[in-house]
Amino acid sequence: MQHISNAIQTIPLNHYILLSAIIFSIGVMGVLIRRNAIVIFMSVELMLNSVNLLLTVFSIYRNDAAGQVFVFFVMALAAAEVAVGLAIIVMIYRNTNTIDINVLNRLKW
């Protein structure tokens, strides 16, 4: 494991930030262009994961373990969020027989 992590030591911090920014933007695009509620949910997961990666990189850059502990909490939160969110989607599907988000416009004024 040591020789692998030695090989990574020349990557600039910028490139990690760039990778996370690109994946976060892909997640935002996924939320904006899809109509399937589950795929939108998956795009949100993509955004959460890109932020997790960036937190880990900054934790290593600053040599501070608190960042990685924070990522652990984000993962626990994501698990809870997915359970509740999928339950809501199942309920919507049972009531309207579709998971197209354009059906859910009853709160529109």
């Binding site: 494991m1 030591q9 490139h15 795929v39 998956m42 880990t56």
Partner: protein, 162 residues
Amino acid sequence: MSLFYFVAFLSVFFSLLVIFSKNPVHSVLYLILTFFTFTIHYFLLNAQFLGIVNFIVYMGAILVLFLYTLMLMNLNTETEPVKSNLLKIIGVIGGGCLLVTLIASLKISGNTEPVILRDPNLGLVKNLGKVLFHQFLLPFEVSSILLLSAMVGAVLLAKKES
């Protein structure tokens, strides 16, 4: 060094496939591959604990939950109603604007220092466990209450009213 760029390319490629594939089941499978590349990133950073947790919790639990929901509701059809092309283009432009803003602010900050792993034991279970159970003991216990309440809420929401 080039391993990072290869894995980063794979991450971006698979995450693009997630949002552009028509079949939701294919989206979930590509999302699993994306998270696998993230696991490789964690291992390259020697964050072994997070790599394992990402592998088990995300790929093993969360995405299987997605797959179960999709297949139980029998939604793996390709007849998903698609947004009009105008709305799609507007969405891509909106996401692109966010990306351009982020990259521009990154360029202004102008930080080109490399990420150096000063302490190789930083991401190991031993070190993280010490931090987690000394400094972050209360948030850890609160997160257990959070998971319990989420479980109760999920069961309550998904239950059929009789």
